[in-house]
């Protein structure tokens, strides 16, 4: 347990993606089976111990210490699991080799609800504070160490020196503690052969179209489609099994029962999940968010935000694997295949006709629908290749939105940027014209060069108004202030932010040292984008 507890402690405080990968790879390399497999399952969120609930933890601690002292402690720490791990009466007396992770997982999974307090208490007694924290987080199901399922799979790929799509393809046929997977990654066994049905197929991805690209490409070799701003999905149906996967292979079927009930086919389809209907209106990304990351979806939400799939490609029809075929051939299969499906749930992405790149560029800049985020250009003659091959598919996004905003708060970065104020909260003007005030609209920490970072850092240090721990508020009024041109991909309504808007993918696109702060944009400019 010690190594797993230390891994969690390090992951949660390590901001760098590559360093997190290194921590995980080193852990997987050094830890024996089945502990590492259970750690992997825990990181990915595949472990569930239904008998252990936070309420029993509270009850357990209240039997063991003065409630007033516990109250002072909890107020100071702010996190229940951490407080309990620290105040537990055995302190660090349980230090030693401790209980192996696999043993902890076995006990937690077998325990009944009535025995849970005694079993959990015995585990906590034998542990250090750090191990107790790991056990409680494990038992209650939320690790929150900043590791996504995809990052954990990337660590596996790094461990085995393979591409991540090989992991994704296998994933749903594998089960904790993943002994066969680790044996393969370490070269001690053949690649596991999945026996499960309806497995994910690694998806084909595109590269951005740059100005250097298209003069070298012949438009006759390519078709074009609109790029819709939904969620890329893969629907796999074989036998009784029907699944909806994200493009990284996460199984999201449970969130979309309405759509899954309309899957009456045998095959694999690639497309974009959108809210609305193929024949009617296509709703915004904000509406789609009402359907994402929900474990259960009420009939009301299903009726209010119906989903459908705009199909881009077909990977398999019946038992026939179509991936080796050229796109032009797959497209014929796709059209025939989708014609037989429920027209309220499926349609085929339409082509955008063009004869020259200049013509396509014009169309890209004036999309006919607000939910279009650009153009996809695909070669007619390439098979369906997993990963991101250079050449066959290009995404050509419409230009980002930009707004001129004023720097309001700056926060110190971490790691390499620990001595720099590198995370910026910026705002736009609101209120009456003659007495405007700034309202924060977003936060960004990249988009500038190292040289520009130094300049902004100096500005922050020279214009600090107040300090709150690692955050400084910066002078920002109609006379003084640093204006950023902020680029972003879209805008959502937000009830969590005072401004009522939340930017998607904001980044600093230019420093406007030349622009007086009073001339930065107003909130109304952003609000008009919402209504579009």
């Amino acid at each position: 347990m010690r190594a797993f507890a230390e891994l969690l402690d390090r992951l949660v405080l390590t901001p760098s993606r590559n360093r997190k990968l290194q921590l995980m790879v080193d852990y997987f390399r050094a830890t024996p089976d089945p502990d590492r497999g259970l750690a992997l399952a825990a990181l990915i969120g595949d472990l569930d111990f239904p008998s252990v609930k936070p309420a029993i933890l509270r009850a357990m601690v209240s039997e063991r210490m003065d409630p007033v002292l516990f109250g002072y402690s909890y107020n100071f720490v702010g996190d229940l699991a951490e407080t309990i791990s620290l105040v537990w009466p055995t302190g660090n007396a349980g230090a030693g080799d401790g209980v192996p992770l696999a043993e902890v997982a076995r006990e937690l999974s077998q325990v009944s609800r009535s025995d849970a307090p005694a079993v959990v208490a015995a585990l906590l007694d034998q542990s250090t504070a750090s191990e107790r924290f790991a056990i409680i987080k494990l038992a209650t199901g939320e690790l929150r160490v900043g590791v996504s399922a995809r990052l954990a799979k990337q660590a596996l790929a790094d461990l085995g020196g393979i591409e991540i799509n090989e992991i994704e393809e296998l994933w749903h046929g594998l089960h904790a503690p993943y002994g066969d997977l680790f044996a393969w990654l370490e070269g001690r066994a053949d690649k596991p052969v999945p026996t499960a049905q309806a497995l994910f197929r690694p998806v084909m991805l595109s590269n951005p179209m740059t100005e250097a690209d298209y003069p070298r490409l012949d438009p006759k070799d390519y078709c074009a489609e609109w790029k819709w701003d939904g969620i890329r999905v893969q629907i796999v149906a074989s036998g009784d099994a029907r699944r909806l996967y994200s493009r990284t292979g996460d199984d999201n079927s449970g969130s979309f029962p309405d759509l899954m009930n309309a899957v009456h086919f045998n095959g694999v389809v690639d497309g974009e999940l959108l809210v609305g209907s193929p024949t009617g209106r296509t709703a915004t990304f904000s509406d789609l968010q009402q359907r994402l990351n929900r474990k259960s979806v009420s009939p009301k939400v299903q009726a209010q935000y119906p989903v459908f799939v705009r199909c881009y490609d077909i990977l398999q029809a019946g038992d026939e694997d179509l991936r080796p075929l050229a796109f032009v051939e797959r497209r014929k299969h796709l059209e025939a295949f989708v014609a037989a499906l429920d027209p309220d749930r499926f349609d085929v992405s339409r082509f955008v006709p063009f004869t020259s790149w200049e013509e396509l560029d014009e169309k890209r800049k004036r999309p006919p629908h607000p939910i279009i985020e650009g153009i996809m250009a695909k070669r007619w003659d390439t098979p369906y290749l997993p990963g991101r091959p250079k050449g066959p598919w290009f995404k050509w996004k419409r230009d980002p939105y930009t707004v001129d905003a004023v720097l309001m708060y700056a926060q110190r970065g971490s790691g390499r940027r620990a001595s720099y104020y590198s995370d910026y909260t910026f705002g736009v003007w609101t209120g009456p014209e003659d007495a405007p005030e700034l309202v924060p609209v977003g936060k960004a920490y990249f988009g500038f060069t190292d040289q520009e970072l130094k300049q902004i850092d100096k500005f922050v240090r020279d214009n600090t108004v107040e300090r709150f721990g690692p955050v400084r508020s910066v002078r920002a009024d109609t006379k003084t202030g640093l204006v950023f041109e902020v680029a972003f991909e879209g805008l959502n309504r937000s009830t969590r932010h005072r401004s009522g808007v939340a930017m998607r993918f904001p980044r600093i696109s230019r420093l406007r040292w030349d622009k007086p702060s009073a001339e930065a944009d107003r909130l109304e400019t952003l609000q008009s984008l919402l209504d579009a």
Binding site: R10, Y72, F76, V87, A129, Y420
Partner: protein, 337 residues
């Protein structure tokens, strides 16, 4: 004589009327007794100062030789008469030269412990238990959440990370007096014999510790003129906590921010400071040690100061001891600069 007549708080600090002296005053006074050299306890500008020789030396290093008009060294364990009281300095185990001060008059003994710790620390004298009637305890880590682990395990964690990330610089934030030297000494005890790089603010105090018999091994200044960032990859750099937010810190290769402090036992504290590798190494007692010390002194009355007084007062009540918070102003939490 009642406790209050022997010692009580005034705006200047803890005052003793029969000796006409203050302990660790926060403003200049005619006669001051100083427990140890940390800046919130030892301040310049007092007329007459009594402290251990090491504390006097440290004050001279930090404030210059004229930090007081007159100074008088106190020998360990030797009672001295000041006015109508007898004062005795006993080791507090906090930093080099740190003392508890026992004040006696009319058959009543109060021990003002200053800051203290019970753990083994290779860089200072060990704590000595002084039986007393009234014990004045600090409360820096007086919450049941503070249970410091063995510092050897924390040092081992640091060394594991140094091996795991040989391309990075491990930057250990440590208070300039006491903590820095202890971390360096414990690294040496753990077998680390590479040169350790130090921020300039640590140099004089490290030199002084050496003269007092605390061997710190090879220390080099963490400066480079025209070298590349890679120069410090794989090394350990020790600096004051605040220096890592300075522009000074920019010279190092992809630094791992480590911080040696009792506060690092709480994850949110580490996160707020941007610490990547928290090292729970403290100059103060943890909760269990505070409680044990209070019991062992045999004191019937406990005065609790600087920190989380309410939790320790509550514990005393639960254990049948008279206790009250002693509201002294001007003392800081450890390394919260």
């Amino acid at each position: 004589m009642r406790g209050h007549d022997l010692l009580h708080p005034r705006p200047e600090g803890l005052y003793c009327p029969p000796g006409d002296l203050y302990i660790d005053p926060v403003r200049p006074v005619p006669r001051a007794l100083i427990t140890h050299g940390h800046g919130d306890h030892a301040r310049p500008g007092n007329s007459a100062v009594m402290a251990t020789q090491q504390t006097l030396d440290i004050m001279a290093i930090r404030y210059g030789a004229d930090f007081a008009q007159t100074s008088q060294p106190a020998d360990w364990g030797v009672p001295q008469k000041v006015g109508d009281v007898t004062v005795t300095f006993h080791p507090a185990g906090h930093v080099l030269g740190s003392a508890q001060i026992a004040v006696e008059c009319g058959g009543l003994r109060i021990v003002a412990s200053g800051d203290y710790k019970r753990r083994h620390d290779p860089s200072c004298q060990p704590f000595e238990l002084v039986p007393c009637d009234i014990f004045i305890t600090e409360a820096t880590f007086a919450l049941p959440v503070f249970r410091h682990p063995d510092s050897k395990a924390e040092i081992a964690k640091l060394l594991r990370s140094v091996r795991q990330f040989p391309d990075r610089t491990h930057m250990v934030g440590a208070y300039a007096l006491g903590k820095a030297q202890r971390v360096i000494r414990e690294l040496r005890d753990a077998g680390y014999d590479e040169p350790i790089y130090i921020h300039g603010a640590l140099q004089k105090l490290c030199d002084y510790y050496e003269t007092q018999g605390v061997a710190l091994g090879a220390l080099l200044p963490a400066t480079l003129e025209k070298g590349s960032k890679k120069d410090f990859a794989g090394t350990v750099v020790v600096g004051t906590p605040s220096s890592f937010a300075d522009r000074w810190a920019r010279r190092f290769a992809d630094p791992v921010a480590a911080f040696a402090s009792g506060w690092m036992g709480v994850r949110q504290r580490a996160r707020q400071r941007g610490v990547e590798l928290p090292l729970i190494i403290s100059d103060h007692c943890d909760w269990d040690e505070l409680c044990v010390t209070i019991e062992e002194t045999g004191a019937g009355e406990i005065w609790v100061t600087h920190g989380r007084e309410e939790a320790l007062v509550r514990w005393c009540e639960l254990n049948g001891l008279r206790a009250q918070p002693l509201h002294l102003v001007g003392y800081e939490d450890e390394a919260e600069d």
